[in-house]
Structures are given as C-alpha cells and as structure tokens.
Symmetry: C2
Subunit: 627 residues, 2 copies
C-alpha cells in the first residue's frame, strides 16, 4: 500500500477521493445488506475535502494529543466514515467489504470507540455535537492544544434540543475550536425535514445561538475548501457552523434527492450502475495534514502522586452526604489536577460549588441543560479528565439517553445526583428522584453508590475518581449522623454489617437515608427481644452478595429492604437479584418503598407516609417473624 | 367574599393586585418556611395583568372547553400561582397560609393537577412550554376552539433544549394560540443566568425559531397590557414570545436584583418589612374575562360507540409486532376520533405511518425531538385525546424526565417503543433498547406491555386506548409467528400459559422475542424427557402473579426467565418481585439477559450471543434440574 501524505492534495485528487468514498459507501452497505449509502453520499465531498486538506490527524497515532477530533454525529453515515478509514489506509478494503455490520466485527452499524479513531459512540442523533463541546472545552481550557473538533451533523438532528444546548454552551465558552459541518440534504428517514433546504433559517438559528455561520454548496469542492479553511482559523471566540447544501444520494442519478431511499442499501444491480456512474472502484490511499507537535504549554498534567486527604467528620455529627460530596471533591482536586466538576446550575444545592470556589479553572457551569452537562463530561472523559457532573438526581433522567450512549462509548462518567427520594420534603414530587437507581442500575457496566453518612460518601467519591465506566453517587438532602470513623474502607462492591449477633432473626437492609431508619428499627426490635442484623448497602451495584447471602442464611431467609425509591429496579431489586443469583434460595421478603405519589411535607412526615421510618421497618420485621 | 368580575379592571386596580400577589407570595412562603418568593415577585406584574385583563377563564368551571390554559413552566414560582388563585377567589387566605407546602395539602411546592386549575405538573424546568405545544395543537387542529395557551417561563429554563424543540414545533404547526411569557429576571439559582438581561439575544433566538417576539418592561403595567393584548390576537401563524425584563424580588428593596435570594423565604422580620413596603395585606378578589361560549364548530367528538374491528392474523404467519401496532392503531382510529398518533420521524419503522396515511388530520409529526414528542402527547391528553407516541424504544430514554413528570401530572400517555433489544441486529447498540423496561417499570402507576405476536399486540393496543396513566408497549423489529387466534383475550395484568402439564419440572418465562425461544426450548426439553411450563408474560406491569406463583409451585421453584434487556429492572425483576411479594418463597432461578455490550450482527446471531436462544434456555433449564 502506497500512502500519499501531503498537505497539498489538489482538488482534482480530492474529487477522485470523493467518488471513491461514494463507491465504497455503496459497496460496503450493499455487501452488508443494510446501512445508509444515500446519507453517506450527500456528505462525501465534505469529508473528502476535510480529511485531505484540513483534518490534522496522525493516523498512525490516533491518541496523539495534538490530533484533531472527528465526530460523526450522524452516526448512520458509518459507510462514509469507514470509507474514509480505508482512504487513509487504516482499514482494508477486505474489512470494509466483509466486516461492515457483521457479527463480531468492529465496523458496527453505527461507529463506536471499538475503533481507535472514534472518540464517542453515535447513532442516537443530536449527541455528537454536545460531546464535541466537551472535547473542545478540554482543548481550549485544559489541554491548551490547538486541535480542532470537527463534527459532522445531519440536518434532521437539528430538531433535537440538545444541538441548541451545545451551540449555546459552545458560544458561552467561546469554543472557536469547534466546527459543526451540517449535511443539509433535506430528506429525513420518513420524509422531508422540517426546514428542507432553507439554509437561511438554519443560519439565523445558529447565528442567534452565537455561532459563526458559513453557507456552502456541499458539492463544490473549492467552496467547501474555502469554508473549512475559514472555519479552522481562530476567530473571535465563536464556534463555527458550516451549513452545506447537499443532495441525498449525490453521485447516483437514480436516487439523487429521492425520498424512500433512507437507510436502504442498493440491490446488486443498482449498486453496479451506481459504481459505473461514479467511475468505478478506486483504491486511493491519501493522508492529509498531520498535527503540529504538542505545544510547549501543554497543560495535560498527571496527578502529583499524593493521596487525597479526605475530610474528617466526627462520629454522630449530623452532616448531609451532599455536603460531604463537595468536601471530598475539593480534597480530590488538590491531589489530582485531572479532577473536574460540572453542574446544571444547582451547585449550591449539590455542593459542587465548593469545588467551583476552590478550583474555578476546573469547574464548568452547564446552566440548566442536563443533556449538555452529561455530554460535556463525556467529551472531557475522552481527553482523559475525571469530570464529576452533578445535579438533582431527578433531573439526571433528562440525560438518560446520553448516559446510555456514554456506556456504549466506554467513557468514564462520574454522575452525582442530590435530593434523592421523598426525604427532600416540601419541594414535592417533581424534585424527588424516585427512579434514579433503576435508571442507573440498568446502564451497562455501571457502578451505583448510595452512602448513608459523610465518611462513607467521601471514601466513595474517592473511589469514583478511579472507577471505570459510568458511576453514580446518590446523595441525600438532609443531615444525618456520621456513622463511620476516618479511615474506614468502603470498597466498591462492599457493604457494612452495622449490627449482628449469632442469634439474629431478621436482616434489615438499607442504604442512604433508610439505613438510619434500619438502625433505629433494630433498636426498637431489640427492645422487644428480637435481634436484627443491619446491613449498609452503600454499594448498590455491584452489590455485596456474600454478606447478603450469609445474612439471609443466618436469619431464616427473613429480610426487610427499605428504600426511598419506587419499588421497581432499585435497592431491593439489587438485593434480590444477588440473593437469587446465588443458587436455590428461600426468602421471606418485606419490601418497603415509595408506592404512592408523594406530595409536599417535611422529610420525616413523608418518610413515615411512605412506610420508610423506623416504626414501619420494625413492624415489617415483626410481620415476617409472625409468618 | 365579593368577587369583582369584569373585563375592564383598570390598571390602578391591577397595580393593587400586583402588590397583593407579592405580599401573598411572601406571606405564604414565609409561613411555610420554604419556597421561592423572589422568583414570584419578578413575575407578579405580568400575572396581575394577565389574569385580570387577558386570561379568559371561568374559575367556577375549570374544565370548560373554551377556557384559556395557564401553565407555570417555572413551577417554583408556585407562591405566585397560588396567590393568583386566592385573588380569583378559588383558594382561601387560610389555605394559602396554612396549606402551602404542608403535608397532605394540595398547595404543593411545585404545582400539580391535584389542583383543578393546573393542567400539568411543573418543576422540572423546560417542560411547561413543550406541554403547552400539545394543548395548543389540540386547540387549533382538534378542538378548534379559540382558547389560548399562556405559559409563564423563567429565563434560566431557556437553557434547556426542550424549550427550543417547543418553539420549533409551535412555529411549524403555526400555533399563534400559544404565548410564552418569559420572566427575564437575570438571576438563576446559583448565580446570574447565561444571558443576563440581554433581551436582544433571547429575541434573536426566539425569532430565529419562528416566534413573534414582543419585548416589554415587565414592571410597566400598561406596556404589559399592550403586549399581552397583541399576543392574544391571532397573527400570521407564529407563536408569541413576550420577553419581559424584570427584577428578581421586585417590590422589596432589600432583595431586589440581589443574588443569594433564590428559593429562600424571608425571615419573619424581613417579611414584615417587605409587606410594609408593599403597602400591607390586601384581600382583593377580582376575576377577569371569561371565555366565549364554545363555538359551533366544536370538533370535540365522542367515540361512535362501535367497537374497533381489530386486524386478523392467521396462525403461524410471521408478522412483526411493530406492524401489528400500526394495523391496530388504524383500526382503533376508525372507531374513536379521539385516537391520535405522533412519531419522532421514524413512522416508517414504528409503523405509525399506517395511521398517518389513514388519518392524516390526527397524526402529528414531531420530527427528531423525543422530548417534544412526549410533551405534545401530554398536552393532548390534557384535552382528552388519546395520543399514541412512538419512536425507537431506545430513544424514549431521551424523554425520561418528561415521562416521569407525566406520571406526576396524572396524564394518560400511550408510549410505543419499537426495535427492542439485540434482536434488531445490524444497527448496533445505539439503536437497541436494553433498559426501557427498567425505565418504564419504575414510572409511578405505569403499565408495561411486551407482546410476542401480532394478535396479542393488537389486543393490547386496544387495551392501551382505555388505560389510565403511563402505558408502554414494547415492539419487536423482526417478524415472528402468530401464536394466538382472533378474539383471544389479553387483559392487562394477565399472562398466557402456552404449555403446561401436571408433571412440569421447570417454568420458562418469556415475553416478546424470547417467548418464541422459550417455546422452542420447551420442545428441546421435551425431546429430552423434561416437561416445561411456558408462560407468555405479555403484561410486565402489572404482572400475573397468580400464574407465576402457581407455576413455580408446580415446578419445585425452578424458573428460567429470558429477556432481551439488560439484567436489571426488566422482566426477571418483575417476575421475582411478584413471586417474593407472595410470601415466603423458595426459588431456583436462571436469569438470561443481555449482560455484555452487543455489537452488530444478525438478530439470531446476537440472541445466541446473548444466551437468549432456545438452546441456551433449554440448557439453563437442565442446569436447574441438575442443581
């Protein structure tokens, strides 16, 4: 394979490459029997110009710190992306033809970071640009490298509000290193897009959100080249949106600008005609500009190697776990410059404001835009930073699809949700997270933590800093007694046996606020002559199956689980999943959870109303004994 | 109580009312010890003008079809809303002072439809305006009544992408009956908003998204009156955004425009000074204009009273459940004019396009904006319509917070998610719903349905049409054999025992695609001399506990549950929750689920990879027998 590498690939050669990208997009999707050739063909000229003349990328070193970033927000155009990979010589024609969309292969239907040149998984539209904001934030404020983040967007996905959250934040943070290229081919999946080829309408919107807009004929190579050249130059601090008017299926006259060809590979005979019309199969291998060496003021920093000095809490002092989160984050920030914080404009509630005050250069305010909050953390993770993103736990549901995609991206997301459950009291159900444990547990590879006191919270925040994948910390609004002494270990996947004897008759399992109620319930039961074992299940996923199995074994299968959460998918679900996975099991379970729709009230009133206070837990335990 | 009702309440009286609203917002929040007086005071003038001179509302008949609608998208300003209710004579001063934010009372921290004048719950920002789009759609296209939908927005929430999805759709559908009043008080919770008092910036954005924009001094009653008068008049089809420059805490000099007063009630002494500055306590009761009688071309229609004729499917024919969804929806639409469909621009995948073709006037395309998709369905439900909203099941996670809030609103949402699980094959994990069952089960009061064949799908779609609360139908991409004959009943909460004998040794539970694998597994087991009971758990929530309990009782506690879903919170969780809720239980469970991150491949390849095919199910059953 002869690779031509130059920053001066001429436009005649680029035109050849564009034809090759179209042909390969057709060949790969036809060979796979599925895929999106027409959505690839509309953007082929854009990508041909970009990769040959503007994208600074060392294809032999995809993680080089100076590399530009390329995100296919319109992930369904994967045939085009993979054809680009062939064109730069990192994917073979054989792999393209026999690997695309096949079982066990890495050229998946939508790109994922299984491929070393892909930063984030795409395929849920409207996410690539928000993710790109995170990478661009890293480039401008943290890495301080001149790399650019290029995002190929579809026009259909501009209907997603998340795109506008992204442009808003890109303008707010003056991310002139972020360039969105919008492939305006006017045809969506089931019909024309809302705005069609009204590029002026798109331009007005993007400009109103603070972007510099360049409008271009997406099939005029010279015009594209000028636009991308302009886009790549530093400007006055605005992100750039290149609006490219394109034709879906461009290059094959039978399908150009025709509806009903979305997401359909061409049958063999059509593919043959298309390839013929495009001048046949080519095997150009060309590489464009490489990045400049990493600049001297590279701010990427490794931790000092010193352990964080976690905050101290005196036993029995009443401290909110959300407060301990803020304290611990500040402590971690002192020891590790990669630690960052982001918040959705509630930092004085989540206590991420402590970090913002201590390390303002490492705090990014995302205002009330939870999708962008998680997406920014995703992009920062791509660049190796350890961002903690916090808001009310209830509002993390707003970013569910971004969290789901984060798991597919394999990024490390550290999410912190405060104000869990009915415990919050007067604000009412809109502010009460009652489904967050179910949401976070069902995320692939996730870690779900729900501490009951300040000491364990601080330890778990430290653990999250080095936890891979999606980790989630659920914090509580109110202040509760410190239960653990400094230095106590809280391994992820562990639990704490807070009360046990060799004559326990029932096991009480709590986490967070209900753990305190379980401890009081055990005292009530003890007063009545019943010995109860109490487990602090601070690690909801993974969960400490051994301790749970031993406990129910010792207490004749009797177990009470109390959770400030809806009954489905939360703590009790985690507990019973673990018990039943252990083999044949006999259980007598009382499951206390929030089963009705709460209103306002005080925290204690609402916990009692939900049946989650000590009295209800003790009563449930006694009922098990009476069975 | 003397109620003054006139459409000509003069502005001097309005000024008195505005002072009263401020005083009552202060009094109620101070009495409750929590709440948002300053965010109420900034909008008091806006509301005083609106309710006295523009909002057409019959306070004695809150469900009157001609009533305007008033949504507090900034739900934290509930003291202002409740003070309005006092001012129109529907809430007493005693209730305001002793009920606000108290346990068991209806004046919750954020408004919910527990109150008869509240259409939708708010408190998760950025949702009131999208919900309003749904109501305005109903008004213009279905009710065909001249009512207007007024939405009070905060400026902070304009950072939510959902606001821009809403304006986009409002402009697309030419909803000149929708008026957003934005209280631009420039201060958020933790600090200044992103755009401060840059009303020009907001105006550019709103205009670019197709709105008519009116900028006004939010404390100039005459200017407000002019703006709202203009806003209320029909225009060329644009929604109106009134941008009101306001001062947070307006009316009390100690806090006006001061940060750090968000969400804090005034201490008693401050409250006293504030009330004195505002001229003391008042007890005006005033009512503004009432709606005109419902117009003659009222299009609100009741069902014809005829039962829908559901589609027929021949046994063993292979039909995708998503296809059956479309067929059934068309059949329902013929019988009931309240049936509507909405889709997120994938109607040719979900098969809602069948309805769109049959009843174009009752189909609303929401393009790729899943938050607005669910919000529009919410607003349409407020007006009594039975909207089915569909997209890929994976993308319903995008609307999780809207679904959660829909449950608090008590609306009926009919959600349909296609392309569930790894079964979809080549498109890869971004398009595979693997957490939707967990998400939907944890929604309060939800109904979760997952049929395996076309006949049961059609029956369940019919059941959804009259199901209260949030209901969810999970459909499958591929075509599978029809299992049930016409006329078979599929009650919500039921199941089907497809195979059983009096010597069954193990129970196999499936739903959707795995049910077919369970049936084949039972045949494999039978060939080996093992009798297996097979249950079609088409109703995941509520679930048929009796049948499950009887089955595990009959099979020595041995049960295999197979689900095309992540292991957490889905079908197996529903099954074990039901079994364990039944009392002391001995179980030997094999739980087959998607435990690793899938890639591309064919459906059968991926189901086998995940361990969800007949061979794996049979092997799991045999392993239980060997324990």
């Amino acid at each position: 394979m002869t690779i031509t590498q130059t920053s001066q690939i001429d436009l005649d050669t680029v035109a050849e490459l564009a034809a090759q990208l179209r042909v390969d997009s057709i060949r790969s999707s036809t060979s796979a029997g599925s895929g999106h050739p027409t959505s690839s063909m509309s953007a082929a000229d854009l990508l041909a110009v970009l990769v040959t003349r503007h994208l600074r990328f060392d294809w032999d070193a995809p993680t080089a710190p100076g590399n530009d970033h390329l995100i296919f927000s319109k992930g369904h155009a994967s045939p085009l992306l993979y054809s680009v990979y062939k064109a730069v010589g990192v994917v073979s024609d054989d792999e393209l033809m026999n690997g695309y969309r096949r079982f066990g292969q890495r050229l998946e239907g939508h790109p994922t970071p299984v491929l070393p040149w892909v930063d984030v998984a795409t395929g849920s539209l409207g996410q690539g640009l928000p993710d790109g904001v995170g990478i661009a934030l890293a480039g401008k404020y943290l890495d301080r490298q001149p790399y650019r983040t290029w995002v190929l967007c579809g026009d259909s996905e501009l209907a997603e509000g998340s795109i506008w959250e992204a442009l808003d934040k890109a303008a707010h943070y003056e991310l002139s290193n972020l360039i969105a290229i919008v492939d305006v081919n006017r045809l969506g999946q089931s019909g024309p897009t809302e705005l069609g080829w009204d590029l002026d309408a798109y331009a007005r919107r993007a400009e109103a959100f603070g972007a510099r807009v360049l409008v271009v004929d997406g099939h005029d190579l010279s015009a594209i080249d000028d636009a991308l050249g302009t886009a790549a130059e530093p400007n006055d601090g605005r992100p750039t949106v290149v609006l490219a008017k394109t034709v879906k299926g461009s290059g094959f006259s039978e399908v150009e600008d025709k509806p009903d060809w979305h997401g359909k590979p061409f049958p063999d005979d059509m593919a043959d005609r298309a390839i013929a019309e495009l001048g046949g199969i080519r095997d150009l291998v060309l590489r464009g500009p490489r990045p400049e060496p990493a600049s001297a003021d590279d701010a990427t920093t490794e931790p000092a190697g010193v352990a964080a000095t976690l905050p101290h809490y005196a036993l029995s002092d009443e401290v909110a776990t959300r407060k301990a989160y803020g304290d611990a984050l500040v402590a971690l920030g002192a020891a590790d410059p990669r630690i960052l914080a982001l918040d959705g404009e509630v930092s004085n509630s989540t206590y991420s404001n402590a970090f913002a005050h201590a390390y303002p250069d490492r705090y990014f305010e995302m205002f009330i835009a939870e999708q962008q909050l998680v997406a920014a953390a995703t992009g920062l993770s791509v660049r190796g930073y350890r961002a903690f993103a916090s808001t009310f736990a209830a509002f993390l549901t707003r970013a569910h699809d971004f969290i789901r995609m984060g798991a597919i991206s394999g990024v490390d997301l550290r999410l912190v949700g405060s104000h869990a459950g009915v415990e919050i009291g007067a604000d009412g159900p809109s502010q009460m997270a009652l489904e967050d444990l179910a949401m976070m547990r069902a995320v692939h590879g996730s870690t779900v933590l729900y501490p009951s006191d300040a000491t364990s919270t601080a330890a778990l925040v430290e653990a999250m800093a080095s936890t891979a994948g999606i980790s989630y910390l659920r914090t509580t609004r109110g202040a509760y007694p410190v239960l653990y002494e400094d230095g106590e270990a809280f391994p992820v996947g562990g639990s704490k046996l807070l009360r046990s004897s060799d004559h326990d008759q029932v096991t009480l399992v709590g986490a967070g606020v209900t753990l305190h109620a379980c401890l009081r319930a055990a005292e009530i039961l003890a007063d009545g002559g019943v010995a109860a074992r109490v487990i602090d299940c601070y690690s909801v996923k993974p969960i400490d199956a051994d301790t749970l199995i031993a406990a129910v074994g010792a207490t004749s299968g009797r177990i009470v689980v109390a959770e400030d959460h809806h009954p489905e998918g939360g703590l009790a679900s985690a507990v019973t999943d673990a018990l039943l996975a252990g083999g044949p099991t006999s259980l007598s379970l009382a499951h206390l959870a929030v089963r009705d729709m709460p209103g306002s009230g005080s925290g204690p009133e609402l916990l009692a109303w939900a049946g989650l206070d000590a009295d209800h837990i003790a009563a449930a335990a006694r009922e098990l004994l009476d069975r």
